[in-house]
Symmetry: C2
Subunit: 368 residues, 2 copies
């Protein structure tokens, strides 16, 4: 086994609810299917679980994308939580995602065809309440920690709001209601998908998916996930050496940063679904607990019992540190024990993934 | 006459060279047509001209888009330059632009059809040398000031490099070689145009132009032209009241910032050409005097005679102030009298246009 291998879950499974799931909008999601992974073992109560919430393009297999957070260096290590080696880690694929839970690719029993563009509007609240159904099924009534970055962090905060009795600690990284520029960029990413000739109002077949639009959406997002300084340091104004292109010679030949983005778009379109992207980026847009509470900070956060740690990433310009800090201050104003910490990273918003090796001990220290 | 009316040029005309124009690449542009506007009157020598260089989507009609820089408040005022009421202002539409100079919409005499995608790769140097041909035709051998923002500023600097004897003062605002994030965003804007089903490799007819792609390109650019703080202040997380949409109700309904961007895309596609956009954004990418001089700062800038003022805009994240300051420092290292000043504006890169009323006296003071 090499150090680069990914730790495997103890359990990786799919749960299907025996009843339809009612969304905040009043609409119904049927079937409710949730793909999940458990690293380590639930004890008999079970009260030794922590929940990791994944971000927009993640899956339940947290060992594949956030290995340092599992507290393992090598695949042979026993996965354990950040704070306690006897705990186990659960991650549940969000509804709307194409990694196994109910999504636009799921067959709609009412029509016999994929939901496609008929997949309903969902919110972070819906995502969390669906996860709760699964935890009830598993008998998990207590979470020592709920943690995530980006829309994973939104879920973590939403857990504290929706199920205050269950949550002991919350850690959310690079998380606040999305600022206006983020709303703008999400809108343009969805526009990119819809610009693809294969879009056909969302009712495409999998083998004629709007993948060029999806790739462009991902590329726009990648620019917002990374910091300008990192792009300068990593790519500068270098030509795309890998493809031996010289941008000074023709309109189509590229700089290095363009080659990088094209590569990112290419790998993304083979692993994601355009309708899922639209549904989840919209859920990200809508996260706004104070607005949900009709403007009352007290109603939004007042009943939170968890201790909350919000972490801003210094070079994050999609969820700027000042916004994350303000979000924590709002919680404190409602009486929540909410700390704000700043994590130094050059990686921008993506720092919670790209700098996970440094983030894990930073989070562990915050929790100690 | 109201204060909002635009000052009219004394002369607005088109000049066609009687010989083909040789580009830096060795390719030939034929015909060389330049659309230009003159505000005020050239004297008999003529040695009373200043040159304004327009940015990517601008035209020769500087009175329409940079009125405060003409030193006029009302249409009834006599237009005069920043420094001297006896001077006159010339602005020349750049080659590649769809506002009257040779562009992808021009008929290629070799084929009898529009250049379209066959329009050659051009550089800021080509743009400036073409402008020089026209000034020679007009008899203008001295420019008291060459000024511009963004790729207008690139032209101003290039003027000092290419024609050191002609240029007395240079003012370039929000200008440096484009950093990596800017190269990335320009690449994605061109990708957006090419994603449009009407793109047809650039050989589209005007009435079947890739205008949805062009609109998306403009929208991406608009995000980079404005500051995140301005978007927060102006739009926040407000729904798009104007269209009475509620983003919380359906996937398609929009936030205010999305409605704004859609409007910007809509008006842009009626006034610009996709091939022009590609050609000019590529020219912007390639501006890099030190690279052109094979890495020698001395060779790049050493023969500049003009006094140069580079102005960074505090909230500009496309051409960050630090990059503009470094560009000035490179010039000073080559012995140029190059100052760096910072203009306080919340408008981001767009500050040179959106805050022009405040910028004009700031520039005048710098020139005094």
């Amino acid at each position: 086994m090499t150090e680069t291998a990914f730790p495997q879950p103890t359990i990786e499974s799919e749960w299907k609810s025996d009843k339809p799931f009612v969304l905040a909008s009043g609409e119904t999601l049927d079937p409710l299917i949730l793909r999940y992974a458990i690293y380590g073992d639930l004890n008999k109560f079970p009260d030794n679980a922590m929940l990791v919430c994944h971000a927009l393009s993640g899956s339940a297999r947290v060992g594949d994308w956030w290995k340092p957070m599992l507290g393992v260096e090598k695949e042979s290590d026993t996965p354990h939580s950040l704070s306690n080696a006897r705990e186990c880690t659960i991650c549940i694929n969000v509804i709307g995602s194409c990694y196994g839970s109910t999504s636009p690719r799921t067959v709609n029993p009412a029509t016999g065809r994929n939901f496609g563009a008929d997949f309903p509007l969902i919110t972070i609240g819906d995502i969390v309440r669906a996860q709760h159904e699964l935890l009830m099924h598993l008998g998990v009534t207590h979470l020592s920690l709920v943690i995530g970055g980006s829309i994973g962090g939104m879920q973590a905060v939403q857990w504290a709001i929706e199920f205050p009795e269950m949550c002991e600690r919350i850690v959310a990284i690079g998380t606040s209601p999305l600022p206006a520029l983020g709303l703008a960029l999400n809108h343009l990413q969805r526009a990119a998908i819809r610009l693809d000739a294969n879009w056909t109002e969302g009712n495409y077949e999998t083998d004629h998916a709007p993948n060029h639009g999806l790739a462009l959406a991902r590329q726009i997002a990648m620019c917002s996930y990374k910091s300008p300084a990192l792009f300068d340091e990593r790519f500068g104004r270098e030509p795309d050496h890998r493809s031996e292109e010289d941008p000074h010679v023709s309109i189509d030949e590229r700089f290095c940063v363009a080659g990088y983005l094209d590569y990112q778009g290419e790998i993304f379109k083979s692993r994601f679904d355009a309708n899922s992207y639209i549904v989840l980026s919209k859920a990200m847009d809508l996260f706004d607990p104070v607005r949900d509470a009709r403007g009352s900070i007290q109603k939004a956060f007042g009943h939170i019992k968890a201790r909350v740690t919000l972490i801003g990433i210094t070079s994050d310009w999609l969820f700027p540190p000042a916004h994350v800090a303000r979000f924590a201050a709002q919680m404190r104003a409602a009486g929540v024990r909410a700390d704000y910490l700043e994590f130094e990273s050059a990686h921008g918003h993506d720092g919670f993934l790209a700098d996970a090796k440094r983030l894990a001990p930073f989070v562990a220290a915050a929790l100690a």
